[in-house]
């Protein structure tokens, strides 16, 4: 892809494109725009120098929480109490280039990576204005070691979870999730970790570039208005009336506080990996031509939330009426009976069936994407066990509903008609203490 001319596009759109492009070219573009040059020209900034980034605060590793996934306390909340996930996201999937099954090689690599990650915490404040990140390890990573993960960790290989999908499976060793409101922070951190740069935001970063082999790079964004600005890709009509306030291409908000699990709920409480969480990443393509061209708002609300939401106008234009609660708790318990009456069942309504004593069990940190110039969603979730994710996904799939009602396997079955699962991957996100190249038994390892 090429960068749009910044003179022609709003800055926000330009920097999103820069994140998608990544690397030093993208970084230069960001910096160019930020310094008001308006041309992407990088004459005044050397992106390989890890220079001080204007307005991006540095941080202190000692103030970073013990859990890698403890982001919420460092993120702002909106007026309704919903946590605001950072705007820009990068997912880096890498394989290890060193043989960490060899204890000596592992020790050296672990110390280097540990230092680099700590350096990043110095280079960026642990917040949306600096940088938030997690380092997760796949089942494929752990397979190289003798011994297996403790029973307290549920980390199976990814599988297809519905009859509708034939996904490919991510088997890279490591998934690094980087997030920030400032694309230049994101890109600088990426360059420091995976590129040739040995500093970021004016702070030196240990060189770990020899540790990794690149597998994939995925990007995305989550903020009101961004989907509307990015209707120029496949998968959405270029004139789709996506509300300005909507952070999703489907025209609604997500991440309602009442539908998000707490960080405590998704944390593994016991065993050697206490303080860890599991991470599932679904790579979803979305096809929203019919969603926008053929469905009306009433139908979209019925399918995204529930027919009751549509009938009672609970949602507003994009979800603003819901404040912090998707308002699914009062819907009838028997979704099958409900669907027989209504002929349609909502996505949020189905997913809520997997709540535990009324509490959600997934912490969603998903975000839309235009990777491959196609609309999609990097559906990244955190949960105590992968089994929790499977449970929610089964509830969302609603095969029981499709079997016994007029609701189709895809049609009128939430938003399944519009979502296509392309890849799945599972990861363990260890506590910060063990985030650098852990073995299946991190205590014995010490």
């Amino acid at each position: 892809m090429t960068l749009p001319d910044p003179a022609d596009v709003p800055r926000r759109e330009f920097v999103k494109a820069a994140v998608a492009l990544g690397g030093t070219v993208g970084l230069s573009a960001c910096l160019g725009v930020n310094e008001g040059e308006g041309s992407g020209d990088d004459d005044s900034v050397d992106p390989t120098a890890g220079d001080d980034l204007d307005g991006v605060p540095t941080g202190d590793p000692d103030s970073v929480p013990d859990r890698q996934h403890a982001w919420n306390d460092s993120l702002p909340t909106d007026e309704d109490g919903n946590v605001k996930t950072p705007v820009h996201h990068v997912l880096r999937l890498v394989d290890l280039a060193v043989d960490v099954a060899d204890p000596a090689a592992r020790e050296e690599a672990r110390e280097t990576l540990s230092a680099a990650l700590s350096d990043l915490e110095s280079a960026f404040e642990w917040s949306n204005e600096g940088l938030l990140f997690t380092v997760g390890y796949s089942p494929a990573y752990f397979e190289r070691f003798d011994g297996s993960l403790p029973d307290s960790v549920d980390l199976p290989e990814p599988t297809a979870l519905t009859s509708l999908e034939d996904p490919a499976f991510d088997d890279a060793d490591i998934l690094v999730h980087l997030a920030s409101d400032f694309p230049e922070a994101l890109l600088a951190a990426e360059e420091a970790l995976f590129g040739e740069v040995d500093a970021a935001n004016g702070v030196g970063v240990a060189d770990v570039s020899d540790l990794f082999e690149e597998v994939d790079r995925r990007t995305g964004f989550l903020d009101a208005g961004l989907p509307r600005e990015h209707r120029d890709v496949e998968g959405v009509p270029e004139d789709a009336p996506i509300p300005e306030g909507a952070p999703l291409f489907m025209g609604f908000a997500n991440g309602f506080a009442e539908s998000q699990a707490t960080e405590d709920r998704v944390t593994i409480a016991e065993g050697p990996f206490a303080g860890a969480t599991t991470q599932h990443l679904s790579t979803l393509q979305t096809q929203l031509n019919a969603w926008w061209d053929q469905e009306n708002h009433h139908q979209r609300v019925a399918k995204m939330f529930s027919p009751t939401h549509a009938a009672e106008d609970r949602v507003g234009e994009w979800g603003e009426e819901l404040a912090a609660d998707p308002a699914v708790a009062d819907l009838p318990d028997d979704a099958v009976e409900y669907a027989r009456d209504e002929g349609v069942v909502g996505h949020a309504q189905k997913a809520a069936r997997a709540r535990e004593d009324g509490d959600p069990i997934l912490l969603r940190r998903d975000f839309p994407t235009t990777d491959g110039d196609h609309t999609g969603l990097h559906f990244l979730t955190l949960q105590e066990s992968i089994a929790d994710f499977v449970r929610v996904r089964e509830a969302m799939t609603g095969e029981d509903i499709a079997d016994d009602t007029g609701v189709g396997t895809r049609v009128n079955n939430g938003i399944l008609q519009y979502v296509f699962v392309r890849r799945r991957g599972n990861y363990l996100v260890p506590p910060r203490e063990y985030r650098s190249l852990p073995t299946p038994d991190p205590n014995a390892d010490r």
Partner: protein, 532 residues
Amino acid sequence: MPIADHESDQEMNHTHEQDHDAADLRDPTATDHNPPTTEDMSDDPSIRTESTKRDFTEASRPADTEPTEADLETHAPLTRRRVVAGGAALAATALAGCSDDEHVVDEPEADDGDPTDDEGSDDADEDAVPELPQVEDPPEAAYLPTHFEAMEHIDPVVAGEYEVEGMVTYPHLFWNVTGEEVEAAEPAGTDVHLMATVRDPETGTILPAETGLEMVVAREGEEGTPHAPWPMISQEMGFHVGDNVPLGEDGTYEVEVRVGAIEARKTGEFAGRFEEPGTGTFTFEFDDEFRREVVAGIHYLDEEHWGAHGSLANHVAGHEGHDEHNGDGHDDGSDHDDGSDHDDGSDHDGHGGHHHDDADGDPHHPGDSHHDHHGDERWDEGEGHHRFGTYLRGGDEGELPAAAELPGELLGEPVIGDALLATTVLDRGSRFVEDDEYYLAVSPRTPYNRSMLPMMALTYELRRDGETVESDSLRDTLDHELGYHYAAPLADLEEGDELVVTIDTPTNASRHAGYETAFLETGDAELEVTLP
């Protein structure tokens, strides 16, 4: 334009009744039928006028409806933009090209003698919405639309255990059903209406493959974009999937179709089959020739029939199905007129006419070989793929067996929302049940064409002496003999029991014109049990 005057139409022998269901037809605007002007044809040298070997449905229409080369030269060169944007003009082209005396619709008479300044023409150019005439205020029943559609049939491809026949045509107006809401899907900003029919290659049976069907559409050599097309019913194609799909530039397009496992219960020869998804790819050319052919193939009904009870012939159904498209039309069944004598007028009156009480007075069996379920005398017009009316379709002209052909004791064929619910009970210990139960099978179908109606929710209640004996939901089931139906085992059954079949959710399949006002009702049908 003036409404075609049936009274003076010498080719029409049928009397037209004043109580015609669709007397309130929209006055089709002159725009709809105006031929394009010479200005429209001046700028595209790429128009091809030679004949084509490609398999377009209209290839089977009567020779006298083929546009001649003169027609094609006279009428507009069809650039892509014209086809997509200028549907009104194109419809007019097809209409003007129709010289079938029996079905002629009057040439448009431009009111002001200058069609070029007709406001509608400009609108059509800009709106990207083909405007074919529609029936206004149609009856709440299966009704005759204004025209037969035309489409390119792609040679069927193998997709695992399935056979997939792709069909491509101009963007369509169709209707989606969300619960009780029916929403017209306008063909805005799209380039083709892309469809597929899924068959069992062994039996030719059309499968209720709404489950997980996905199409990835790509210009050859480029990245594709996925679509989950709508499960749909149409008079001409029966059950299929389809959607309006935006394309890019002209060229060869590849459609990778993934057919999901069939989730209906499967019995008989279908037991254990269709458990896995299958994938296959077909290609089609998106070019001027395609656009010209699919539009030129539109075949209008005489306007007096628009909105009448009845249906267009299904040209996809039947075990031979796709093999027939190159032929001269279906073999007509033995139990109805063969189409060649349809204009003798001696054995039927115009539709909407003489309303008869149910022939045998039995509300469970409305209709017979001479009367449809409305009690009206059956009639037909046209021939081959372009036959239409209320005539009794032959065995291979519908997706489902005729009610009388269903195994077991036929309890009746009650009507709810113009859907016929053929209901039969099979004796104890049939192959459909595990133990010694009876088997209740309800086979909802479209009237006339006997197309399946998937995605319904049905329940039954068995009453005896005013008490409920059994009740449950009916499970959708696919059988080689019964076809697609909804069923439940019955432990206990006595002569004279009252059986109530309830539609909880009408079919949520999308609809082509002629079906969008039918099959939308919920409700009960009461039947008296006769033991098999």
